[in-house]
């Protein structure tokens, strides 16, 4: 069943359809929340808030438009709100400790999956690489997360973020250049 059909049913109060739609998009949304916020509690809060906002605005959703992009945008905005609040609260905290916690969280995500390909990259190098990703400006970081952490194609990323493929590629290139600066000339795999 397509998203539009679910939404039409949801507007009539169909909880079954709501459950289906939520599950259909959980992987992308929860995945983005967790890899962006790097905190399970915050991620689940944002995930829930994003859906709640979407439910309240469901009547404004235009049939024919991409629901996935729509809900993703809401989710992204919710995350940014949370990040802004979080940054205000944690201002003055040691950034190195914060970075270490973020890397540790991502390591836990890696450890929770069955595949072992990531283990071919040494842990120390992984930490450095993750550190460079987490230091990126948010807009560039989003693209890196979607492209590499979630393995999204350029077309999917562009669609989710509402930008063109060429912009996505350009920004990804910019992100990698920034990471290269962060990691230094000697860094290589």
């Amino acid at each position: 069943m397509c998203d539009e059909t679910y939404i039409a049913k949801m507007l009539d109060g169909d909880i079954y359809a709501a459950n289906k739609l939520i599950k259909k998009h959980k992987r992308d949304l929860m995945g983005f929340c967790k890899t962006k916020l790097l905190d399970t509690g915050l991620a689940e809060d944002c995930y829930q808030i994003a859906w709640e906002k979407a439910f309240k605005k469901l009547h404004t959703y235009k049939p024919g438009s991409d629901f996935k992009s729509w809900i993703f945008k809401i989710c992204q905005n919710t995350i940014y709100d949370e990040l802004r609040r979080g940054r205000a609260k944690t201002r003055g905290e040691d950034p190195a400790s914060k970075l270490q916690l973020n890397v540790q969280y991502y390591e836990e995500l890696l450890a929770s999956q069955k595949t072992t390909e990531q283990l071919t990259l040494e842990k120390e190098l992984r930490a450095e690489l993750l550190g460079a990703v987490f230091m990126l400006p948010d807009k560039l970081k989003d693209i890196v997360i979607l492209r590499f952490f979630h393995g999204k194609k350029f077309g999917e990323i562009s669609s989710l973020l509402g930008i063109s493929d060429s912009t996505t590629k350009y920004k990804l290139n910019k992100a990698i250049i920034l990471m290269k600066k962060e990691l230094g000339d000697d860094w290589y795999v």
Binding site: K26, G31, Y106, Q118, G151, L161, L183
Partner: protein, 542 residues
Amino acid sequence: MYNIKINKIEDALKKLTLDSSIFEKDSPADELVLNSYKEVIMDIEMDAPTKQPKQQKNYKAALIAVASVLAVAVVVAVLAITGVFSPAGGTAAYVALEINPSIVLEVDNDENVKSVAFMSDDAADILKGVDLTGTNSVNAIGTVVALAAREGYIDPDSGVTITLTRFSNTNDKEAFFEAVRAKINEVLGYDVRVKTQVGNLNEGSAFAKFKNEAPMAAADPLETLAPSVTIMPTPPPPSPTAAPLPSPSVSPTAVLPAADSAGSGDVMFDIYDTTAVADIDNDGSDDVISFAAGTSSSTLTVDGVDYTINQYKLAQKFAITDVDISDGWLEIAFCDIDDPPEHDLDRPYTHYYWWDGSTFIHCGSFWEMGWDGAERAGFDANDHMDGHGMIMSVDRSPNFTDVWYMAHWELNGANRQKKEDLYAAPLLHSTPDLTLEMPCLLLENINLSYFDAGHSAWWDHASWPHVNGRVVDPGGTGDFIIIAQPPETLEVIKVYGKRWFKLRTHDGYSGWIRVVDFKMSGYDDVMYIDVWDIFEDVFVAG
């Protein structure tokens, strides 16, 4: 080597890819999300039809929501164009009343209301079922104010300013304002501050010009009557016996010695070092005006309200004068430190600012007009007139631009806006149209403050509702912007300096973008994108 390094990073990043199935695991959030859905659906069913929340019961917000004449001019102009109002056929004036709720009245020669337009949903809400047509305009305003007060939009315990703008060709504006003030005091039983503004129906005003241009062209700040939003200080607590508050206009006699002949062409100063105590708003009580000079900016404080002066290294002196006693504005002047090379071009400027009780505008700066008094008698505004009969001075106002330019303004206050046509040039050579690749905002105002951190959300495609609407007022302050969408094609119609470009959409809206070194101001800091990301036709050779 460089590319190899980048590829190495990309290769390494690919090793961090997660198996997305780990995010599908059950979590407490699942049930909470579903419960949210149930609650929202139940609320909708209980509230159907859904009520729009009333936007304003917050009186501080009401204070801030006092819109500029700019907004009024635009709205009135749009209404005229769209046929809501018909300027012909006995229309003597348009009167805009802004409290939030806000309305525009079309008034005939007998001063009766011909038609009413609502500028906000709140206005439509409170005036539902009320027909003001045929009512005397003053009484109509009294009715609106009374209804607004009844609905809680005006409260004696909270500061609120009512902004009243009259667009007409007649000279009865002051009488009209006085009558309205009296009416408002009568219906409320207590004092509120009434800010008055005027516009001319037929000539020189944004309204008249607007009729020859596309709709949003009237939104050009450079062609409208006042460029800035007004935030009024909180009025004193109401008293049943209190006299009506005076208009924001000021009297020169409160400050200036009797010998001064302000408005005659002389520029008369009363010079102070740090503080002046004088009744400059003519309300019968002394106002405290203080000035603190700083290095990169300075601050003028009038009765506790701070105004920032963005000039480099001013002398610790200020002067108050009234160049034109017929308008409601005082001129407050500041001077560069006369100590080369501290000031620009090794010569001091005197910087003039207009102040009307609330709004503080940099009107221009005169070169080598010093402070020791010798220049006072020798200065004649006529010496600075240009071919348009306007005063020329240099300006670098943050309200307009980041480069020095020749400002043109008039003494009489009726047309004190800066004239876009005098310094924003049409293109010398035709330029190919630009096709958008990404959404792009066109600014109504040329104003550098739009690129500061407080406006980041404007430039953020993730947070910007760029799919909704064409003309929006994101801050609710009368700062309108146009939303252009890909694959729309835009025409370059004007340039100012080498950084500002005015673009026009196919349906006639126009607005400014700023480009510095191929970076789109605003977007550059937030989205990390360059001009060729926005426009698909822009390439850099080599």
